[in-house]
Each structure stands twice: as C-alpha cells, then as structure tokens.
C-alpha cells in the first residue's frame, strides 16, 4: 500500500463523507460542528496531496492554511452561537431550535 495520489484522495473522500453524515445525523449542535471540521479536513487532505503529487507546487499548501484559519474562525463563532442557544433554551439539541418556524 504505497502512498499515491489516488489513495490520498480516497482518504479525503472518507473524511468528507463522514463529515457530511455527521452533519446530517447528529442532533447535538457541537456534533454538527465536528462534522464541519471533518469536511474541511478532507478538503485539506486533497489540497496537500495535489500540492505534492502534481506540478501545482506550493499553492495547495497555502490554500489549506487558509482553510485551517477559516475553520478555526468558524468554530469560534459557531461555538459562541451554540452557547447563546444553550443559554436561551437550556439544551443544545438542534431539533428544538424551532422558534422561527411559522
């Protein structure tokens, strides 16, 4: 099992699919955030693998750095929203976030 571009892309695919399913099935808001982190991480694996195995050079790594920074910012904001939601509803279950429902 030598490392090749195709295998790295498959790891990225597994991370992406796990993240999407995590976002879709978890009812805990923090679990959904973890799904988002997995999806972004799968994208990072692809970017870094392309940076190494093709002639695209260092650009892939720089893009993955931006993705990491934006993921950290997103996590901070989303956790602040989750804390606010918990303060108002005394739960973190996203199924109970139905105040805007008509």
């Amino acid at each position: 099992m030598d490392p090749t571009l195709s295998k790295y892309l498959m790891i990225g695919a597994v991370l992406f699919v796990c993240g999407v399913i995590c976002m879709a099935t978890k009812r805990n808001a923090i679990g959904i955030l973890m799904g988002v982190e997995l999806v972004l991480n799968g994208a990072n694996v692809n970017l870094v693998a392309f940076s190494h195995y093709t002639t695209l050079g260092i650009d892939g790594q720089i893009y993955s750095l931006f993705v990491i920074v934006l993921a950290a910012a997103e996590a901070a904001i989303a956790l602040a929203i989750a804390l606010n939601f918990y303060n108002n509803h005394l739960t973190i279950d996203v199924d109970r976030a139905n105040k805007l429902k008509g």
Binding site: I11, V14, V20, N44, G57, Q61, I68, N88
Partner: protein
C-alpha cells in the same frame, strides 16, 4: 515494507477509522476524542507528503486550539435537561446507506480521472515550467520559507517573474484573513458574553 508505506497505512487507517468513529459514537466527549485521533493522523499524513508547516499548523490550531474550544463548549452545555441526545436507529441505518452510496460515487468519480494526464494538460495550458514549479523534493521538509514569502506576495518557487507572466502571491488573501480573524474575535466575544436567561 518500507517505513513510509508502514506509516502511511497506519495514519491512513487512523484518519479514516477516527472519522468513522466520530460518526458512530453517541457521546460528545468520545466524538471529540476520535476527532483528535483523526485530525492528528491527518497531520501525520501531511508530514508524509513533505508539507511540514501545514502539518504543524494542523496540530497546533486544530488539535491544540479548535478541539480544546469544542471540549470547553461540551463542558459548558452538557448539564441540565435533555442530556442524552441520540440518533434513532432508523436514521442510523438510512444514514449508513446514504454514506456508502455517497462514498461509492466519490470514489468511482475519483478513479475515473487520469490525474497524470490532467496534470500534463493543466501544466501545458497554464504554462508552468515543470522543472521550477514542481514541488521541490530537494528542499524536502523546508516549505516554511516558501510559504512565508508567498504570503508576502513573493513567489521564490516559480523562478524569475517577467512582465508578461507575473507571479501571483497571496498578500491580499493574507490581509483579508487577518482582518477576518479580528472581526471573528470581536464577534465571538460579543455573542458569547454572559446574559440573563430569557425563559427561566
């Protein structure tokens, strides 16, 4: 079996199984633990493809920063009623089937592309000098200087820039991200400040 193959297999399994365990486990703290395993293995995979700076940043920001933030959020929100939040078994089965179909689709698509051939086409279309632009394995484990200069708008890895073919650095995205981080910092502290509960 060479060392690289061994470590690649180990960390690939760590990343994939960790991600699957994040989906499967129901307790949030266990999910955070498996996420640490998965993200740490991914950082090791980055080290294996000579992306040492990205791997280090992944370890520091994701595992050291974001995960700690997530664990704090779990601690702040897990007390009180509705503590156990489970996914129903029917949903789990359905999600598993959808996941397998989705994974099958992505993997088949990915295997259907000849990456070497498309790489050649992109290199000729963009006009990248392959010898210069290819990831330099001679400077293996030394991406820090190149990345830092690229973030300042210089591209030492692309050779000499000419007026007809200037190089594009990343100074503007870097500045935008800096201001974005400042805004996020202010916004997060504004959103998360202590407030009186409305409905208690």
């Amino acid at each position: 079996m060479s060392g690289q193959t061994l470590f690649f297999t180990l960390f690939a399994l760590g990343a994939c199984l960790g991600a699957i365990a994040v989906v499967v486990s129901q307790s949030v703290i266990r999910m955070a633990f498996w996420l640490i395993i998965s993200l740490g293995s991914t950082a090791a995979l980055f080290f294996l493809v000579d992306a040492d700076f990205v791997g280090a940043v992944q370890l520091m920001i994701y595992v050291g920063g974001t995960l700690v933030l997530l664990v704090f959020a779990v601690m702040l929100t897990s007390s009180g009623p509705y503590l156990k939040i489970d996914t129903s078994p029917g949903e789990t089965v359905l999600a598993g089937m959808v996941a397998l179909l989705f994974l099958f689709m992505v993997v088949v698509t990915q295997l259907g592309v000849d990456w070497d051939e498309s790489n050649e086409r992109i290199a000729t279309a963009v006009g990248i000098d392959r010898e210069v632009a290819a990831f330099d394995s001679g400077s293996e484990g030394n991406t820090l200087r190149t990345i830092g200069m690229s973030l300042l708008g210089l591209r030492p890895d692309l050779g000499v820039a000419t007026a007809s073919k200037p190089h594009t650095g990343y100074l503007l995205p870097f500045e935008i991200v800096s201001v974005h981080l400042l805004v996020v910092l202010i916004g997060a502290s504004y959103l998360a400040r202590a407030k009186r509960r409305r409905d208690s």
